[in-house]
Each structure stands twice: as structure tokens, then as C-alpha cells.
Amino acid sequence: MISQKANNTLTVYALEARAQKLGLTKGQPLANARAMVQPLAIMGCDEKADAALLESIADWCDRFTPLVSLDAPDGLFLDITGAAHLFGGETAMLATVIGGIARQGLAVQGAIAGTSLAAHALARYAPATIVPPGGEAQAVAPLPITALECDDKALRALRHAGLKSVGMVAGRLHSELSERLGAGFVTRLKVMLGASGQPLQPHRALPDLMAEQRFAEPIVTEEMIAASLLQLAQHLSAILEREGRGARHLEAAFFRADGKVARIVVRMGEPLRDPKVMLRLLRQRLDALADPLDPGFGFDLIRLEALLAEETKPATISFDSNENARRQIGFLVDRLAARFGDARVQRFVPQDTHIPEAQSAAVPAQDSDFDRQHWSLKRLPGDPPRRPLRLLEKPEEISVPLSEVPDGPPVRFRWRRAQFDIARAEGPERIAMEWWRSRGLTRDYFRVETRDGQRFWLYRDGLYRTDGLAPRWYLQGLFA
């Protein structure tokens, strides 16, 4: 039995069949249950683990349809529109799904209906029902009113009115019901009766296009996996070709026979449809995985999805060498991103701010068109550089003994346990923080050069004040 703390009391959250036989019920205060039955094996509930389990079951269910939706806390919706015939009809499919989940040691009930709420209620109160199209109202009619899953107040009101089944509630005028119980109740009732639909919230983003391959015998060897990946890539490429599109995000999902699903994602800088390139990128991603793909008892389904497919221009061989070079560089960036991760291959975009550390942002190199960015020069023509080549990740505090003039540059400073004597300095360049973003002190920047020509970018954080507290000094950048 599992307990849960709700409203400051411990209540029964879930219980097994044997406990149910003893007369214990869900939602009962734990103290009452203890008084009725001794001894009880009680565990605290772990909602996070439950949610994770539901997620993983949803992942497993991905093999039946791409549209799986979570029905928290304990249900799943599978949209099997157009998928049932692949599994030998609705009856056989329901049996396959239920059997598959039950084999993993879970207690499971299921039903098939035209709308999500009808299926939800039937799965709980009349498992294994398969509702023929349009038969929802008839199928849910005999269910008890608890199947409506409305709140206690509404439930009490319905009982008062002598309504005992969903059918009886449905028999009342909708205007009456909405007057008494609110418009939301009627909407739910309509969905349950199949009179109106309710969209499902997919658990994973739906792919634009996909290709999949099922195996009667789970496959284990690397060669088999590679061969089937190539086949899938060719298949997907044919679809892409037909639609005049190319894949930007490619995902390969490996469904293990024991229910685990491994996914790898490759991103491309440009729409791609060459199956060989797809395969190469996928293999590189696979090779780069920290924990290699573990086939376990083998994969019984491999699916290749184009999560994002974009229009491509018809493939023409370009004789423009610049265009060719640009594409080759794009492929190189894709390859590197597949091997090391998208975030590790970067290019820079300028930002509209004058705070030195925020003036550029490193973004994944596959993202946008970088050639159109405009970078503006800080120095005047003919002047030496005014910004350092390298910026420390965080300005490091330096100890400065004394400045010659209060507002002047330091004469010497210590940084990283070394002493630097300043021979030349230029500044101050005053940079104030953006008051509308962050509150920071005004910085006075100095470019300084030591006797041996090492060049640093220092700043004084704030101004000298009359109260005698000296402002701090920081080193932020290194010049070339």
C-alpha cells in the first residue's frame, strides 16, 4: 500500500488487490486503514518516480503511433487513427499494447474509443471495451457517475438529483446541467459522449516525416543496425525528395525489446536528403555517445524521423565555387556538431549593448546566417586596438597598492600571484552599466602595458568616494 500526504493528513494513495479485498479504499485516511487492518505494509509515494515511469511507458508506446499523450498521473492516450491496421485491427492492437505493458510487470487496463475522455472512462470502468465509431454515448451510458471525474461537490449534486449513471446524466438537458454544474462540466460530458472532440497534447513533438522498420527477431549486431539505418535513410530520403524537402533535425529512435528507448538527434545547418550523409552523421553521433548504444536483448524497432523538414531548392549542381565552398564548410560544421554536440561548434553574433562581456554571443554554428551580421569597429582608423583579444570568463580581482592620481591607472598590480609593473597606460574609458537591466557600478577601463610588453585590460569598479573606501580593481581582458 502506498500513502500520500494530502491536506496535512496521510491518506491511502494506491493499494493492491489484496488490500482492496480487505475493504480498504483509495483516498481513505491512513489512520482508518491502520485501525481496520493490522499489519499494513506502507510506503510513501514518490510522484516524481511515477511521472518518470509514465514517461518511459509513453516512450515505449511510441512504437505504436507517433502521437502518444500523457494522461497524468496514471494514464496514456495513444492516437491510433490510421495505425490499427498495421497491427491486425483494433482488437489485436489493444491486445498487443496491453500484453506488452503487462509483460513489463505493470497492471494495465485499456479501451478504444472515439474521444479521449470516453476512452479514459472506459479504460477505468469497463476495460477492454472497443467502441465502434459513433457508439460512445451508448458505451459510456452504464458507467457510474464517478467516471465523469468531476469534483466532490458536483458528484454530491448529481447524487442528490438521483442520477446514478453517466447515461442518466446525459439524459438531462445540457442547459440544466450547465446552469447547475458549470459549462466546463457540459463540455467534458460532450467529449465523453463523443459529441465533440478534444485534441491530444502529444508527449513528444510530432515529426514532420518518418520511416520505421520493425524486426520479427530483435537485432543486436552493429552491422545489422547500420544496414537498417541506411535503408531507413534511403526510404526517408525518397519521401523528402518527393515532397521537395530536406531534413534539418534528424532523430533515430531505437526501441529495445525490453521497453527501453534510446534516441539520438543530429542537426544540420542546411536541409539534407542524401541518405549516405545522413547515415554518416548518425554513425558519428553514435560513436561519440558517452555510453554506447546498448542493444541489450536487441532492438525490435528502429525509426528515423525528420523532426524538422524544410523546403529545399531543387538540387542543381552549382558551378559557383563560392557556393560550393560554403556548402562544404556547412557539411564540416554539421559533422563536427554531430561528433561533439551542437553547442560546442560556435559562431558569434554581435549584441546591441556596450557592456564589454555582453557584446557578442556565441551561438551554435548551424543556427543562422552569419554573413549578414554587422560588426562595428571601436577604434578609430589607424589607431591601435581598443578591445582585448581575449576576455576572461569572469573579471578577476587584482590587488592594486596605490594609484598615482586617484582617478588614474595603477602603477603596479598583483594578479594570479604575480606582480606586474605598469610602464604605459591609456584611459580611462568610462563604461556605465545599463540601469534598466542590471545595477552595477560604473567602470573606468584602462589599457595597460607592462615593462615587457604584456597588455591587460583593467577596470576600477566604481569611483573613489569621499568615505575613504577604495574601489576594487579587476582584470577583464588580455590584449594580443
Binding site: 560550393n324 565552398a325 562544404q328 564548410i329 557539411f331 564540416l332 560544421v333 559533422r335 563536427l336 561528433r339 561533439f340 560546442r344 561548434v345 560556435q346 559562431r347 558569434f348 554581435p350 564589454p356 557584446q359 557578442s360 556565441a362 554554428a365 552569419f370 554573413d371 551580421q373 560588426w375 569597429l377 571601436k378 577604434r379 582608423p381 589607424g382 591601435p384 586596438p385 581598443r386 578591445r387 582585448p388 583579444l389 581575449r390 576576455l391 576572461l392 570568463e393 610602464a423 604605459r424 597606460a425 591609456e426 589599457r447 602595458e449 615593462r451 615587457d452 610588453g453 604584456q454 597588455r455 591587460f456 581582458g477 588580455l478 590584449f479 594580443a480
Partner: protein, 288 residues
Amino acid sequence: MEIVRISESGHWVNECACRTRGIDSFGAAGIIEHIMNKSAKLAKLHHSLARYGLPADRPPVPLGNAAVDDVLGGGLRPGALHEVFARGWSGGGFAVLLALLAAGTKPLFWVRPDYEAMEYGALSPGGLLELGGDPRQLVMVRTRGSPDALSAAGDILACPHVGALLLELEGAPKCLDLVASRRLVLAAEESGVTVVMLRAGAIPQPSAALTRWQVASAASSPLDDDWGNPVFDAQLVRHRLGGLGRFLLTWNPEHGCFTDSSKEGADSGAVAAAPANRPAYPQARRAV
């Protein structure tokens, strides 16, 4: 690489000769042509043997300073590995500038392990712009460690459309041995991509690099009253194709090249003669 290409073309020459012979049915003209072809082939073979192990002929990229370009034989050789050992905090900029020069208008790839950014600071595109580079041509590859950085370098060097690769490695990583540097050299020769390897906090080890520089920053020109262009004290300590030397180089961001510091100031930019029988790397001096 060179040998293979020559033998391929040699094969082609042979075939040609046979065909001519067939038409002339062993006429004198055919035989003479055959012999001429053969001697041309031999001359080519001689040439390639003489250059065996040396980088392919590609026009060098001038650094701008006449003294350096003279010693380097016209400038920095593309499709080769150049090592820069930086001393101090500002010396590393030299490697960046070499890579900028080598890249020209093509993309510049900068590969560095994460540790480098923590120690030496992350690259600031604004700073690159100030030096005369173009941030738009820069692609940064951050790797977890040196082995990853080397394998990324391998990928990048396979693409001939890359302008230059700047590989920044700290200390002496185990994976960077003679084999690894030879591999880089071969890949660079094949594609013509220049590799500049920036080594900070390292002592030179035997490697397959074409040139090796020891660079420190130098005081900027006394003519500038407070702040001038970056100046480097660059010592060419190893050069497989020619002489060595020590140069004082000033970077001119406006023209995007190194100028001669000696012209500007009293400092002569003296070229100290390097010993002819230099060791591959300086032996550590031991106190007795």
C-alpha cells in the same frame, strides 16, 4: 602524397605513348616521343624525390615584414604545421595573427579545449575585429580535452575550403606525440589548410612542424606616446626549409600585416644569428 600523384600521371603518360606507337607502327617519331615522355617523367620523379617529405609547392603568404619573409622564403607556407610557443600573457596573440593571415578571406577554425578558455580567457570577437580580423569568418570548436581537439583538427583539415586552423593546446598533452603531429602535417599537406598550433605553458618537444616560433610580447614602440600596436619578440627556432632568426614584429591592424619595428623606432629589430647546429629542442639545463 606527391609520389602517388606523380606515378598516376606517369601511368597516363605511358598509355599515351603506347597509343602513339600503335598508330605509327613503331615509327621513329613514336619512339622519340616515347623517350621524351620518359625523360620528362624521370625529371618529374627526380623533382618529387628531392622534395620528398617537404610540403607541396603553394604560394607562401607574406607576413609583411621583409626580414621575416626573406628567412621564410616569401612568407608563411600554407598547408603546413606551424608551432607557436607563447611566453607571457600576450604572446599567444601572435599565433592568432598568423592564423588570420593564413586564412585570408576563407573561414578560420579555432579549436580549443574548455580548459584554455578558463585559463587564458575566451575569445572576444570584438577584439579580433580590432586586430583587423573578421568575426564572421571564425568558427569556434570547443572540445572537452586535447584528444577531442586533435580529432576535430583531423576533420577540419580534411576540408580544403577551410582557410586556416588554429589549434590551441595547453601544456604537453599525452596524445600530442610525434605520430599525432605527423598526422596533422600529412592532412594539412593534402588539403592545403594551414595549421597554427598555439602551445602555452609547454616546452618544445620533437614534432613534424615546418616552423617553430617562440614568442613573447615586447614593449610597444617608444614613438607612440601611450599605447601602440601590439609588438612581438618572435624567435624562429626551427625551420625545415631555411634559416632562423629573431624578429621584432609590430602588427598593423589597418593593413592586416606585420611591419618592421626597426623602421619606426630606435629599436633595430636586430636579427640575432641563431646557432647552426641547434638541437631539435633545448636540453634542460641541470645544475651540477
